[in-house]
Amino acid sequence: MTALWTLAKIVWLEMLRKKEIYVLFILLAALLLALISLDVYGLGQVTGYVKEIGLLGAWVLGWILAVNTSVRQLPQEERRGTVFPLLAKPVSRLELVLGKWLGSWTIVCGATFCFYAATWGVTLLRGGTFAPAVVVQAALLHAAALGVVAALGIALSTRMNPDAAAATAYVVTGASFLLVPRVPALLVTSKGLSGALLLVVYNLLPHFELFDERRRLVHDWGPAHGGAISGALLYGALLTAVFLLLAWIGYRKKKFSRGDIL
């Protein structure tokens, strides 16, 4: 475990010191400031849209950060040549994969929770509320989703270069977000080959809609049933484990190029 956390800490320091993460904060702050200044017909205390747009921003920015961070980790080590001294230490390739995932996941979760806090702050300024129990549930589920995305990015990066891995990750996760929840409705009218393809997509791609509790937060519903939340978290853990297993399978016999070293 020490090796995992040490590797994770290297990821955190890189993200924080390279200041890329701050760009996203600035974007979200700009967005939220715009929302604060928006006055719809002088109606005060209208906060639903602030919550909705702020949380959408948190999801989109967290998604981008998770993909971009995770796909670069392993290729970067190889390109820099730092993978060699790293694996010359008592660090296995599995630990390297897990450590990079852990670092990517935790830093992205941290950034995302900051986005949540910013949205919460603006909502409170406008006189709105966020139910704490629902926030905790939503944050846990969102973290699970980010874990899956980060694991997918790591897995893809063991097979292809970072740009291709990022593109593929965006397509897969985008389709999962947009298409998978609609498949049961689409299947009412889609038969034959298209129906079969939709079923394959439905069963193969991750179901990110299970991790999305924004509607409860925005519309002030109470917390969801604990059993359902636990089930969703378990599903997320399982998906993450599958992707990390695929990552390890792709990485354990990988022959490293010498990257930029001659």
Binding site: A3, P85, L87, K89, P90, I261
Partner: protein, 255 residues
């Protein structure tokens, strides 16, 4: 205290072959290479560019699977973690995490060896002083000169006080003072009973520090033995090496 198995060599390579598939036909990077490194010695691993030195080192460190043959480190198969606990490695043209400070790099490395607390902090301070980077310890490595980066990477390879130190071109790109520094470090390690295995093009350096050398040409072990014995009637190790490499090349062309 140095742990030696009095019988087992620090490095033992037997019948090692590595073949890479390629579009133009298979590339045989190593051909049936066998040699041993006795513990407590400084062993030079020489060869022209492309001879297969780094390939052999990568096999030793478990980065590559050999096509044939075996390799052990400190009596353990190369894949065993326990072997790497006692191993230090400096890569050729080393690079590292430029966003870390020198102190952070050594501390992170120490944690990978499960060192912690005051012991780790003390060891880091000592290493920084040994490589002459105490003043720059809390600056980002990105601000270091090439020589400083080489030294911090050298320090990184020494964090766990390894019994076996593998150095791939440790003096590459260094000025004379830098090379002197490396020679001193190697000498200190030998004095402490450690084993040093390093590859180099700087034959004058090798002649000064190495007890034994092995010379690789075109993936084949062309010569091995004590430095003094190999030099023999040649003026220098460099002259011996040139003669050997030329002879091997001629043999290949004729054959």
């Amino acid at each position: 205290m140095v742990i030696h198995d009095a019988v087992k060599p620090a490095i033992d390579i037997q019948g090692l072959s590595v073949t890479f598939p390629s579009r133009g036909g298979a590339v045989r990077a190593l051909r049936d290479v066998s040699f041993s490194v006795e513990p407590g010695t400084v062993f030079g691993f020489l060869g022209p560019n492309g001879a297969g030195k780094t390939t052999a080192i990568h096999v030793l460190l478990g980065f590559l699977q050999p096509t044939a043959g075996t390799a052990t480190l400190l009596g353990q198969p190369v894949s065993e973690k326990i072997a790497r606990e006692r191993l230090g490695y400096l890569a050729e043209n080393p690079d590292t995490y430029l966003f870390l400070t020198g102190r952070e790099l050594l501390t992170m490395t120490g944690r990978l060896f499960r060192l912690r607390g005051a012991e780790l902090a003390k060891r880091v301070d000592r290493l920084l002083e040994e490589v002459g980077l105490s003043a720059a310890a809390d600056r980002r490595i990105a601000s270091y000169s090439r020589g400083m980066r080489q030294r911090i990477c050298m320090a990184q390879s020494l964090v766990n006080d390894p019994d076996l130190l593998i150095l791939d071109e440790p003096t590459g790109g260094l000025d004379p003072l830098g090379r002197l520094e490396i020679r001193r470090l190697i000498a200190d390690r030998r004095a402490a009973g450690k084993t040093v295995f390093f590859s180099s093009h700087e034959l004058s350096e090798v002649e000064l520090v190495c007890d034994q050398v092995a010379i690789l040409v075109r993936g084949r072990l062309a010569a091995q033995g004590k430095t003094s014995e190999l030099v023999g009637s040649n003026e220098s190790l460099e002259r011996y090496f040139i003669n050997l490499a030329t002879a091997e090349t001629d043999r290949k062309e004729d054959g």
